[in-house]
């Protein structure tokens, strides 16, 4: 190593040189003691590389120490700083300020939605954790015979749950979940992504139990497919896709009694029966004939506007035999394969 004698080597030149900019933020405040909310505007000088979180820190350190928000890792892995930036949930630490400053735009920062506010930007995550716990979020190998070494898992099987294991439980997906706004008991995108992480795990043996529970009220068929969760997720988990995968697993295991599953089945059947959807079958086959009869006044309204296609001459696409053959081919293919990948006991393989 080169000999160094210079004492000036203890400090770094230009360590703190940084280009600065001035930014204005409109921040939603809530005081739990007076139970009043308001908006405050703050203008702070921050480095050009600053995130929304850095801007909040600048406010707290130099303007107003009463401002409360959660933070920790500031590198988008701990999931503490989920909040709404201009109405959309995001990690404050992963949202750069520069684009807003350049556009001359004053951002509005407010707490995440679908969760009660505790103070300023801090929400009560208890309902969120409760839903995570409700999906039995741990591996169940139901096995007295745990191997001495690791379970053997095919790398491809491991990849199946790669996206879901990226989840940092920040709650951004839940913030704008439209179904949860309407049904606060809906398990929601984060818990369901977590559920798939175990349903899709080759080592887990509790699949059927898990799927049975998820097919109930407030479960997977509550999802309205608004795709806000995929849009908001800062970690590319795509929770809606995980919910869809749970649907597919439910079908594989024969859980098709939920109205949501029945609804989906009409679509599947329509394609190989005629091509387009058989709209007139949708209502009775989804909600059952009894409920459909109860809904007759509603159906008459639709009929009056010409919205009930003739059930006796359903749509028939040209060459639809291709689709029928395709359906049969894929069903046969699926039958020939194991329903899911499973982990193997190393002793059974190598005897080590």
């Amino acid at each position: 190593m080169t000999e160094i004698k210079n004492a000036h080597f203890t400090t770094l030149k230009g360590a703190y040189d940084t280009e600065k900019m001035e930014a204005t933020l409109r921040v939603r405040r809530y005081d739990p003691e007076t139970k009043k909310s308001r908006f405050d505007n703050f203008t702070v000088t921050i480095p050009v590389t600053a995130s929304v979180l850095d801007a909040l820190d600048a406010i707290k350190d130099t303007h107003d120490g009463t401002l409360s928000y959660r933070k920790s890792c500031r590198m988008a892995v701990c999931g503490s700083c989920g909040m709404r930036v201009d109405g959309g949930a995001a990690l404050a630490c992963k949202t750069p300020m520069k684009k807003f400053v350049d556009a001359g735009h004053t951002i509005t920062v407010s707490p995440m939605g679908n969760l009660p506010v505790i103070k300023d930007l801090v929400v009560d995550m208890a309902p969120f954790w409760q839903k995570i716990r409700a999906v039995k979020p741990y591996l169940d190998t139901r096995d007295a015979d745990v191997p001495e070494k690791e379970w053997r898992v095919d790398p491809a099987a491991g990849d199946q749950i790669h996206k879901e294991s990226l989840c940092i439980l920040c709650g951004c997906c839940v913030s704008e979940c439209n179904s949860m706004e309407s049904d606060p008991d809906f398990l929601g995108p984060a818990a369901l992504a977590k559920a798939y992480r175990f349903v899709g795990d080759a080592r887990d043996k509790d699949t059927r139990e898990r799927l049975r529970d998820l097919n109930g009220a407030h479960g997977i068929w509550d999802c309205t497919r608004c795709y806000f969760c995929n849009q908001r997720c800062p970690k590319h988990v795509d929770p809606r896709d995980a919910i869809a995968k749970l649907g597919a697993e439910s079908f594989k295991e024969g859980f098709t009694r939920d109205e949501g599953a029945k609804h989906a089945k009409v679509f599947v059947d329509s394609t190989f029966k005629g091509g387009y959807l058989r709209e007139t079958e949708l209502v009775p086959k989804t909600i059952g004939p009894v409920n459909a009869i109860k809904d007759i006044p509603f159906a008459l309204q639709l009929a009056r506007a010409g919205k009930v296609p003739n059930p006796l001459s359903p749509h028939k696409a040209k060459d639809n035999d291709e689709v029928k053959r395709l359906w049969k081919l894929l069903e046969k293919e699926a039958k020939g394969q194991p329903r899911r990948a499973t982990a193997t006991h190393p002793d059974a393989v190598l005897g080590d």
Partner: protein, 304 residues
């Protein structure tokens, strides 16, 4: 905008929402674009097949895309959010992974169906007429100014999110519908729920949850003083229109707001006649006042 599209109206526009198909064909004629029929296509799956049988969904999507390709069309024109997302999502999966594409094609070949090489784009009518040359073409045919008509745009979900599959515009602050409403000479009304869900996908399976969602745009658009709501999606339309009375009963309100398909609004501004726009096929009828603002002759749809 192109001169020739493979036209994929999807199920609803071919069945209960025939007025959308009819309006679209009429406006396409005015815009001088050729809509090539796709007689052997199936349903896109509406997200339901994607959820129930993902592999089957991928195959029927590839078959639809492949048919367009073999017809020599570069682009499939859709008029439904759900078709747009489902076809684009499958398209992305097929284009990004050659192994998947090859496997799907092998199966399609086995059953004698069209295979797909990956060269087709899927675009919604809204995207084609709200920007670029399509917008200019529309401006030039929008001869009737719908002045005084207050229009609440309702985007629906699956034309905005997920942006990595759709990505036409800022999914939180879209502007395309507003741009077109202005081009029609009407006034766009702003309200927060315009980018939210209408509840349609679960309106049969979870009616209460869906109605809870549906109430939001109806309530907000009404409060903001909108005469009509316009939407680019026939599913949102069905939800907002046909379930409007149920949403009213659910929330203790009496909503009376007519819902227009995008093609109907464009058609009205282009002077297309009621016989093609077929407003009377709506459950929530147009009031005389709104009809006047839409400049539709008052002989049709006498029920207010």
């Amino acid at each position: 905008m192109q001169d020739r599209y493979a036209y994929y109206p999807g199920c609803l526009a071919s069945l209960s929402q025939k007025e959308l198909d009819s309006s679209t064909r009429a406006i396409a004629k005015k815009l001088e674009i050729e809509l090539v029929e796709m007689p052997s296509v199936t349903c896109c799956g509406a997200g339901d097949i994607h959820e129930a049988k993902p592999d089957y969904y991928l195959h029927i999507s590839a078959r639809i895309l492949g048919q367009a390709e073999q017809m020599g069309c570069e682009t499939i024109l859709t008029i439904c959010n759900v078709c747009t997302l489902n076809l684009r999502q499958a398209n992305k999966a097929l284009q990004e992974d050659k192994d998947v594409l090859n496997r799907v094609n092998d199966n399609l070949k086995q059953v004698g169906a069209a295979t797909y090489q990956g060269g087709v784009d899927v675009r919604h009518l809204l995207w084609e007429v709200s920007a670029g040359e399509g917008y200019d073409r529309f401006k030039s045919i929008a001869v009737k100014s719908l002045e005084g008509l207050k229009v609440a745009p309702f985007y629906g979900c699956q034309i905005l999110r997920p942006a990595k599959i759709l990505g036409f515009e800022d999914s939180d602050r879209p502007e395309s519908l507003e741009r077109l409403i202005k081009a029609c000479g009407a006034e766009p009304i702003d309200y927060p729920a315009k980018v939210k869900c209408c509840g349609f996908p679960i309106v049969l399976a979870r009616e209460d949850v869906a109605l809870g969602e549906l109430v939001q745009p109806l309530q907000q658009a009404t409060e903001a003083g909108a005469d009509v709501i316009v939407t680019p999606c026939p599913l949102c339309h069905l939800s907002l229109d046909a379930w409007q009375r149920k949403a009213g009963a659910f929330s203790g309100n009496d909503y009376q707001i007519p819902i227009l398909h995008l093609a109907q609004l464009l058609g009205a501004a282009a002077g297309i006649e009621e016989s093609e726009l077929k407003f009377k096929r709506h459950v929530t009828r147009l009031s005389t006042e709104v009809k006047a603002k839409l400049q539709v002759p008052s002989v049709v749809g006498t029920q207010a």
